[in-house]
Symmetry: C2
């Protein structure tokens, strides 16, 4: 299993956002939707060993987490609006402290980064981290934590200060593009490519 977790600092967590305005009303929900797509989609199939975990911190309610599991999700298409409609649906039902399945492969709970960090081993991306191409498959963590268009907050940095840090290249790219690059590294290692 590979986990990609993305913090949406401004992403709305009450389901009231308009599907026609994902960047504005959704709080850059467009970016989170592309992260779902980058985590789960191959050209003609779904990656069944992948989960994409979205931490929606933009209010108005307490932080919620929505998880997409490649193994069981159904009827998800790669366009932003498709993921967004699943997220919206997830946010419209009552959420508790444990994950609740909204529809096959899509789950929601009230919890944020701290809870998640206790459940999986994550690496983070950092332009000053080690070049990911120099890390062996055994050295890679089971998941990667990314931030949306904003940097991690000081509070988040404190929580993740011990995590291994990787760099993907000389340019700082969007979170969804980072996921694409990470998958390529994992795919290459799994298949014995260099």
């Amino acid at each position: 299993m590979v986990f990609f977790a993305v913090i949406g600092h401004q992403a709305k967590n009450d389901g009231s956002f308009n599907l026609n305005d994902l960047p504005g009303a959704g709080g850059r929900m467009d970016l989170l939707c592309r992260c779902v797509q980058a985590s789960l989609f191959l050209s003609h199939g779904i990656r069944e060993d992948a989960s994409c975990i979205l931490i929606l911190s933009g209010g108005p309610g307490p932080v919620k987490t929505v998880r997409f599991d490649g193994a069981s999700v159904r009827s998800l298409s790669p366009d932003e609006r498709s993921s967004a409609s699943f997220i919206k649906k997830s946010l419209e039902i009552p959420a508790g402290n444990l994950f609740r399945e909204v529809t096959p492969g899509v789950l929601v709970r009230k919890a944020g980064l701290e809870t998640l960090l206790g459940e999986h081993q994550f690496g983070v991306l950092d332009e000053h981290g080690i070049d990911i191409r120099n890390a062996s498959v055994e050295e890679l963590p089971e998941g990667f934590l990314l931030s949306d268009h904003q940097n991690f907050t000081a509070e988040e940095e404190l929580l993740i200060r011990e995590l291994p840090r990787y760099s993907l290249g000389p340019q700082v790219v969007h979170a969804d593009h980072a996921i694409v690059l990470l998958w390529n590294e994992i795919d290459r290692r799994r298949s014995g490519w260099n």
Copy 2:
């Protein structure tokens, strides 16, 4: 300059598609929009040395080409709907055989693959091509030609039969993801990373 050209085999070319249904009514216009985004966007900026060229072949009219130039485009956001609205606008005005600027950095003309191949040197992606990581910066072409969710047609294959072919990894990925991987290769070579 780096050129990314994508053939949209079913992509509508008359501007009548609904922005709320890019995959269906647009003929997988969602994928083409993500290709624009992958070609032009860095985390906090636009790649000024990039162009994304969309070949819209899905009718109802003759094939049209829409080009986005990173150096001059304005008010483009990374979400699919933003690129889609520029494409729609481009298709709603009369197009001739030469590129016509619709709005800064967005151009349209009536022409397809054959014309484009006479203008730039392209490489294509092919799972049986050479591993891109083994190509030096001098060996890389000035542009890459990609296909949408469908393979190149027999007619297209005939036109591109002499072009160099590259593989990006063991998995076949979406065209927009391929562009992300190509940019990473180019960025690394330009900056002296391995």
